[in-house]
């Protein structure tokens, strides 16, 4: 889907501009965006219970209207935390829908909706893609009135193995329990 839009913008033949709606939020000093249809709701961060055996950027689990969801901190995940920039007392959580589950993403400020013409989104250069990650989760870079917004593809970012970095499973699996003879 993304590919089609990008080739469309490259041709620049489209006169009637197609707009896409983004939810824009700040991580570190940059602005990021997610397509609005991937965001279920935005709320003041509820009480988060820490969960052992998860990577540090997984803040824990929270009760969001009866759904228990994992809450993650993308600043920490991307290594964007400014010096001494712990999360403020009052933060916000975007409930984002991945393929078959919902996950919470903590942000510092209230995320804002923004309409962006498709032509304003350029494909991200290869080299800024995180080398460690196989799926390319940066959909593109939007330039709007002097702002630069990194558009993330949540479906690619939020695969279970990607989030969990696949580390905790082995420790307590039955296979690992068998001692080396």
């Amino acid at each position: 889907m993304a590919e089609n839009e990008l080739t469309g913008s490259e041709k620049k033949a489209v006169k009637q501009e197609v707009l896409i709606q983004l939810i824009v939020f700040r991580l570190g000093s940059e602005e990021y965006g997610i397509r609005i249809e991937q965001v279920k709701e935005v709320t003041v961060t509820p009480e988060v219970a820490r969960m052992p055996k998860t990577p540090a950027f997984v803040k824990g689990i929270a009760n969001l209207r009866g759904d228990i969801i994992a809450v993650i901190d993308l600043e920490e995940r991307f290594g964007l935390r400014r010096a001494g920039g712990a999360l403020p007392e009052l933060s916000f959580t975007m409930a984002v829908e991945a393929n078959d589950y919902t996950i919470g993403i903590i942000v510092r400020e209230v995320p804002q909706p923004l309409s962006v013409p498709v032509s304003a989104i350029d494909k991200a250069p290869e080299f800024i893609q995180d080398m460690n990650i196989h799926d390319k989760y940066i959909e593109g870079i939007a330039r709007v009135e002097g702002r630069i917004i990194i558009v993330l593809d949540m479906l690619k970012l939020l695969t279970p193995t990607e989030i969990m970095q696949l580390q905790p499973k082995a420790a307590s699996s039955p296979r690992a329990a068998r001692r080396k003879a």
């Binding site: 009480e47 219970a49 820490r50 969960m51 052992p52 055996k53 998860t54 997984v58 689990i61 929270a62 009760n63 009866g66 759904d67 228990i68 969801i69 994992a70 078959d100 589950y101 919902t102 996950i103 939020l158 695969t159 279970p160 193995t161 989030i163 969990m164 580390q167 905790p168 499973k169 420790a171 307590s172 699996s173 039955p174 296979r175 690992a176 329990a177 068998r178 001692r179 080396k180 003879a181």
Partner: protein
């Protein structure tokens, strides 16, 4: 509460009325097309089922009529007779009489006499002409005052009950929340309403749980055939006894243990019970005994599979466990037979063919164990060499609510299912000893390894736990002793909170990848509380012990 017998009768009634409706329909079809094979087959089947049910319930007359009708429909089906002539009114009368008798059962009236009908049916079977009386000729009149009735029972998809149960689970969580809030706010009116809500929700929960209960017999009764088939294939002579069929349990739990029970029964016949010759040689009766039984114990249901076969050879299991590196030779020598038998449930243990042959057991027992674990139940095995083996499945009656112990660790609340909790103790450092880098507590004559839960949950990802050091332990230690697969383990926690019934919600993705937690529950104050999975925790400890 209704008596069991009355419940059976209602079920009989509902089925019988359904059969009767279907019979009336099919016999009318048959009248239009006397060679209608599907209708004939159905009539034959319906008569057969009705006969069996009626006889089981002790309604001999219904059984007699249905039996004869079945015979006649069988003859028509096999083209030995045709549905024509005087047979037609007699069979119609037969169906009507069946309806009449079923209604009489429903109204607890005396059943009408069926002597003439039975006589006529007998004559038909013999190929003689029936004696047609008034009954067969006044069809029209009877039609006029025939009553139409709907069954008192509703068949419902288990899926719908599952949904209902999930909703009730949510309701219970909100109920506790509202009750807590009402106490905080302190408005008497709100508190009264909350208390009322509490009671109603409680009753609703038990009603839904009750609606999901089925008799263990509904599963047990499939086993006589299984046992017969397996015994024939294995050339064993086995007598099966079944008891406790009317113990009730959640339908989904019964579903989940179906394969496990099948497995245990097959194993008992295949590997437990010896061939008749071997049994005679061993001084036992040639016929082996296998028993399936169910009983309730407190809130749990115990299902046992007992055979009088050759039993489990603890010594060969012990040797095998050492060979497979599950335990060191020195440690193995100290284990009691119960702990040794627990190795049978180790994943992979059963994979070795030799073990199966030597010990006679072990094919896929880990699978059985996993099924029971998933229900939060326990699997136990007792065996006397040469005398037989008993497997005991300890199952919760219902999956909705579980008793749990709540405790605090590093300012977070956790729950641990009572099913896996043996006891809770507070020990002083003097009561704990360091043996081989591991803390040991001597509790009620048993040496139990103890580990700070903090180290298990928050410790480094790789490598064993740091060796225990007496100096690190100061003050009173709150210890929960958990038990999984006959292994006891003490967990040091910060603070005990309370015991409470909890509704466990499955862990949502992607966090379900961490198997240390069996799920989450919401506490009355809205807090999210992780539920520890004792089997996974025990495995983690075994993998990481210093």
């Amino acid at each position: 509460m209704k008596s069991r017998e009355q419940e059976y009768r209602e079920i009989f009634m509902a089925e019988a009325l359904e059969y009767y409706d279907a019979m009336s329909r099919h016999i009318s079809e048959l009248e239009k097309n006397p060679a209608d094979a599907p209708a004939l087959n159905e009539l034959f089947r319906l008569m057969h089922n009705l006969k069996a049910n009626a006889r089981a319930m002790g309604y001999a007359d219904i059984g007699e009529v249905a039996h004869r009708m079945e015979t006649i429909f069988g003859l028509i089906r096999d083209k030995e007779k045709t549905f024509s002539g005087s047979m037609v009114p007699v069979l119609f009368t037969g169906v009507d009489k069946i309806g009449e008798m079923i209604r009489a059962v429903g109204e607890s009236r005396e059943l009408p006499s069926v002597a003439t009908l039975v006589n006529n049916l007998d004559l038909l079977v013999k190929g003689e002409e029936p004696v047609l009386g008034e009954e067969e000729e006044v069809d029209a009149d009877e039609d006029a005052n025939r009553k139409l009735e709907l069954s008192d029972l509703v068949y419902i998809q288990i899926k719908k009950l599952d949904h209902l149960l999930n909703l009730v689970g949510e309701l219970i969580i909100d109920r506790d929340r509202i009750l807590t809030l009402s106490q905080e706010i302190g408005s008497p009116a709100l508190q009264t309403a909350a208390t009322h809500l509490f009671r109603i929700a409680d009753e609703l929960q038990y009603s839904v749980m009750d609606a999901r209960l089925v008799n263990v017999g509904s599963l047990f009764n499939k086993f006589p055939r299984v046992v017969r088939d397996v015994a024939t294939a294995e050339q064993k002579d086995v007598e099966l006894t079944i008891s406790g069929e009317d113990i009730q349990i959640d339908r989904n739990i019964l579903q989940i243990i179906t394969d496990a029970l099948l497995h245990l029964v097959r194993n008992a016949i295949g590997h437990g019970i010896e061939t008749p010759e071997d049994r005679v040689k061993a001084g036992k009766p040639a016929q082996g005994k296998l028993a399936l039984s169910a009983q309730t114990e407190r809130d749990d249901v115990l299902i046992q599979v007992t055979d009088d076969g050759k039993g489990i050879d603890v010594e060969s299991v012990r040797r095998k466990a050492v060979e497979r590196g599950l335990v060191s030779a020195e440690a193995a020598g100290l284990l009691d037979p119960g702990a040794v038998r627990a190795f049978l449930f180790e994943p992979g243990f059963s994979m070795a063919k030799e073990v199966t042959e030597i010990s006679g057991r072990g094919v896929g027992l880990d699978v059985v164990k996993l099924a029971i674990d998933s229900l939060g139940g326990q699997l136990r095995v007792e065996s006397v060499l040469g005398q037989g083996t008993t497997f005991t499945l300890v199952l919760p009656t219902s999956i909705a609510v579980k008793g749990a112990l709540l405790f605090e660790l590093e300012e977070s609340s956790y729950a641990i299912p009572l099913m896996h909790t043996d006891l809770v103790v507070a020990l002083w450092p003097d009561d704990l000893h360091v043996v081989g880098g591991m803390l040991l507590a001597h509790v009620f004559g048993d040496n139990i390894p103890v580990v700070p839960l903090r180290a298990l949950l928050h410790g480094s990802e790789d490598g064993p736990l740091p060796a225990a050091n007496k100096e690190d332990i100061t003050g009173r230690q709150n210890i929960i002793i958990v038990n999984y697969n006959n292994r006891r383990l003490g967990l040091i926690v910060d603070r005990f909170l309370r015991q409470q019934d909890i509704v466990i919600k499955p862990m949502s993705k992607p966090l379900d990848m961490i198997d240390l937690f069996g799920g989450v529950t919401l506490l009355g104050n809205g807090q999210v509380c992780l539920v520890l999975d004792v089997p996974a925790l025990t495995r983690l400890f075994l993998a990481k012990r210093p």
